[in-house]
Subunit: 371 residues, 4 copies
Amino acid sequence: MASEFGYSLKITVYGQSHGEAVGAVADGLPAGEPFSLERLAKFMARRRPGAPLTTGRREPDAPEFVSGVLPGERETELVTCGSPLCAIIRNTDARPSDYSAFADTPRPGHADYTAYVKWGGKADMRGGGHFSGRLTAPICAIGGIALQILERRDIYVGAHLEAVGGISDARFPLLPTKQLFDEIAGKAFPVIDDACGKAMQKAIAEAAAELDSIGGIVECAIVGLPAGLGSPMFDGVESMLSRALFGIPAVKGVEFGNGFAGSASRGSQNNDPFVIAGGKISAETNNSGGILGGITTGMPVVFRVAFKPTPTIGKPQRTVYLSRNEPAILEARGRHDPCVALRAVPVVEAVAALVTLDLLLSSGYFYNTNC
Amino acid sequence: MASEFGYSLKITVYGQSHGEAVGAVADGLPAGEPFSLERLAKFMARRRPGAPLTTGRREPDAPEFVSGVLPGERETELVTCGSPLCAIIRNTDARPSDYSAFADTPRPGHADYTAYVKWGGKADMRGGGHFSGRLTAPICAIGGIALQILERRDIYVGAHLEAVGGISDARFPLLPTKQLFDEIAGKAFPVIDDACGKAMQKAIAEAAAELDSIGGIVECAIVGLPAGLGSPMFDGVESMLSRALFGIPAVKGVEFGNGFAGSASRGSQNNDPFVIAGGKISAETNNSGGILGGITTGMPVVFRVAFKPTPTIGKPQRTVYLSRNEPAILEARGRHDPCVALRAVPVVEAVAALVTLDLLLSSGYFYNTNC
Amino acid sequence: MASEFGYSLKITVYGQSHGEAVGAVADGLPAGEPFSLERLAKFMARRRPGAPLTTGRREPDAPEFVSGVLPGERETELVTCGSPLCAIIRNTDARPSDYSAFADTPRPGHADYTAYVKWGGKADMRGGGHFSGRLTAPICAIGGIALQILERRDIYVGAHLEAVGGISDARFPLLPTKQLFDEIAGKAFPVIDDACGKAMQKAIAEAAAELDSIGGIVECAIVGLPAGLGSPMFDGVESMLSRALFGIPAVKGVEFGNGFAGSASRGSQNNDPFVIAGGKISAETNNSGGILGGITTGMPVVFRVAFKPTPTIGKPQRTVYLSRNEPAILEARGRHDPCVALRAVPVVEAVAALVTLDLLLSSGYFYNTNC
Amino acid sequence: MASEFGYSLKITVYGQSHGEAVGAVADGLPAGEPFSLERLAKFMARRRPGAPLTTGRREPDAPEFVSGVLPGERETELVTCGSPLCAIIRNTDARPSDYSAFADTPRPGHADYTAYVKWGGKADMRGGGHFSGRLTAPICAIGGIALQILERRDIYVGAHLEAVGGISDARFPLLPTKQLFDEIAGKAFPVIDDACGKAMQKAIAEAAAELDSIGGIVECAIVGLPAGLGSPMFDGVESMLSRALFGIPAVKGVEFGNGFAGSASRGSQNNDPFVIAGGKISAETNNSGGILGGITTGMPVVFRVAFKPTPTIGKPQRTVYLSRNEPAILEARGRHDPCVALRAVPVVEAVAALVTLDLLLSSGYFYNTNC
């Protein structure tokens, strides 16, 4: 138990930042689903390091699919075959020596210390090991396939960087559409309002210049889901999504629809009136984030994910020598994103797509649509 | 899949608001653990309906334990015996007729509509059925036992009503202790600052007077946990807690430590410096909420849970006739809490205690301590 | 983890033989499924104690359904509503004093000793506690509902007592049909050949007269399943069934189709040729027991379950005093079946029905058929 | 759900026979456990193809461990680090063209047909795809590590070929010891009595010469387990083992201790008397196979696994053209073992070792022993 989530679709993530490889296995994908490697590469490029404002680490990050697929009709296409799909991404630019210091002086805010305690000093402490943000690459590799499978059924998942260091690009209400998602995905900086994005970039650059880091919020939406998916109580859509989202490194909060803001409101404001729209039952507003009682309403599922500032910073920080039980000062080197939330935008999409696909598979939806 | 959570300790919740009974089964409790029925009754009284500002429904809510226990040394004590413990609470004050209207006109903000769609109109629609807040009574019955098992090992769980309708009783940093928990649990209104509590009560009373409802936030802490519990990624402490917490009716957000506020900060502010305190490694601050990389740091685990306003309100609301696909106006009757967050304080404690016990059992902690 | 099985349909069994009650919770039943209480009572009567050749314990064993149901169209009918169904059966004829001796002198062949070790002497040792055959009553209560749900879809489950103490009523090949199942279910002694049944009854009576017990084999079949259900490897139909079947007390072996006999054969004999029958692909023989690669072939699923002799016997047996670590002689009193396999026939059917329903639900089959 | 088993230790198997690679991920291994690559290679060599009487396919089968490990003290040693361990074995000798015929004419007794139905013709049909015996290679790679971890704690797992085509090398009672296991593992043909082994080899050679195949039985034992491991009912040791064992291709039966033979006996014969041996409670005989009520007794866990004859045979067999719904005759080519049970001996050991390790981890055993 640990690096896995899902019911009908189980995702297992493996690898360490500076080990041989990172990767993931997806067990339960429907068979006969083609996916474009070009589109996948384009999706994965959105989280790739090396862009301005991200870590200097440069890796092609091209996943190899060693199982679960057959050749597709075109050369740049593969087709799922129903058996577990394993993706492997080699670590070609690993520099474990950058991190040797951390083995004895755990980074404040990072998992170095807790991993050390949990595994009695036997964990791979190089660059965060299994806790590294690098583990989100295979999540995107698998999630990018799920996105293509969903889109074929007119279900779309998209996210944007809603806030950085308190600078907010929030829209209330957010009106998510495929068009909005495509537009944001096409931008170098994934915001709705580019002027706001400029201010965010400035804040990130300033933090980086001060050898510091900065937090942010990613907002994500899933559109096109039918009503009636999910379950009451502990396997509700919120439970399934939050469990998976908190598995992304640096996530410290998840809220659906109005979330924490809703807790400051009245029922008469927060309840979404039911209306007849186009002959069908719909909700006039979407303060519920598309989920009531853990079950989809048919409105967009909307949620927000809080990312803490990257814990690894160049500024001197107080820590301890594990070996000597004495105070220490750490000035972290290595290559780190000043704002993990930025590159996390497609990661949140990937996790949301995988949970959505699991939800559909668990409900029997795919049985009906002949997959 | 649905009404269950847990790994080594599995909790299954059953029942409908206006059916025969509600209850829960706990499979995996350690054996030989005595628990006081008096203390349990006292704990459960904290969520009981009938208090001022809560629903008018009056039920003794005394759980009967039909399995999993043996007689204890004292008459008011039972002892776990290792086999699944089943608690049953009869619905003695059910009035299904109060809710007959909802069957055709789903309450905005409630699960009436989504349950209708999911189960093709075959769900128990009386009073929220399985989605009712009444299902939290058996959670408290089982969670109250977990609390006693934890306390025997100097692990304490406590919560307070941090906010109602935007009126905040937050403390940063919160310094949770058994003493603070006991103090709050002893109050009629579970806040830290009673003056603030008065303002909250006024806001609740005003909402009720206007046939409306109001949201709130519950903050909870777990103290006494050793460092090193939990797992990386998707079975981290945040994942386990959030999955269970979103199973509580009306929860729309969960954040740990600094949570959403942390996403507006810098790494140099948000990271908790490691220090030597009393010869042991500790953290100077607790912005992480006691969890790094999904694993406990040994500091208190602190989290906040956002509750939306009670969806059932007396004010007229727009909805639809399911049978006729036409607009309708609903003025809900029945007995409802104007602020679910208030009675949810012990529910959050109960869920936190159950997840904590599962976490300890899954880690092998109990094996070591001879249970 | 322990007293639960299932994926989309989770069954949790609770209770102790001489505690307050035994029961089960079924989470995931499809909604809107009526079931006849009369038919259920008739089914449960087949495992009821008190018949000749079974334990002298007499209990009505009528389950009360406290959740998961709504009233049906007729008075003796209930309808599932989609939320967890909890069945409770009170222990009205418990005589814990019969078993007090076992607390210190564990019965050879029984779980007394292992339960003692596992729970450090804190288990409920009265009459087998949670390990008692009495726990199969709630399995039948839930399984009897599953049988009715399956029959509505022309899927039938039936079993017969294939052997007792080496006396065999086996048929190769078994040609299972609803008619055969109905015929056997209508008999006082559930065999195909009544003459063979007479010999078995004699063997049981002789064992009982000698204060001894005797083992037996139950053969079960599931007819009407479509091809393509199940999964490769560890969630294959054999894996799902065997995991659940070994949870029935006294089961020590499970084989599918030709099973152990097949391991003595050649491939050319054991392979089932594919043929076209009635325009459809079928298999000419069914040595595979209806399962290839963990997935149903569309032929009947056939398996055999080996039950050991009832461990509790009146004959003097060597055991030990747990308290004194010294040898002891035990002459068990109490009321025990001389042949557990006899009453296990409907229990095997119940477990098979529950696994089959889970298999269908997990595959999405019910989504398609509008349940 | 499908290609995974385990609770605290989760094993996921991926790959297709004629795809890029096969492999497995083990999530939950204890950290700091060194394992010798030489010993692992020696263990894996026991199932390797290319030996006399096995398939002609020749592959080095050396697993690459791309995650979950750190370098060991010696060059041929790796050490687990607590994060998921991924093993990958490239398919270097794949010849998909050998199998193209099967795509339209499913092999009787093989999963070709059921995979075709389950995945609507979209499965990888080359050489059995994910259903191939080749998938047992990664099970051995991971299981071989578990064996080394267990041996360090004086827990030993061993198996022998108990029967081939009805020729039996059974010992009643089997007295399993590390010495016996080592002796058998050192033999070219894994039997206890070499004369019996000669007869088996003759039977296999004869079947092969006639373009046929032959079934067999593998018996396995686990020695050194403490009493009290496992759970009642559906997570008992028999349930856990059988679920995993039926995931091995060609397994059709599993029995524990006396198993099916026990069902022909009396309780007075089958019950194992408890005795005091060396000051400790023990059982005089082991008809229970070391398990009572799903929980270990402290005696060796002993079980037998029935393997059907290899379904792929050269003899002409009747099948159908899937594309034309017409009868066909298949004469299978390709490289196949005439007796899968032979190479399955280490596979059964590997699965048993993995389940045993999971059982120990789930019980908290490792917490206590400082791993």
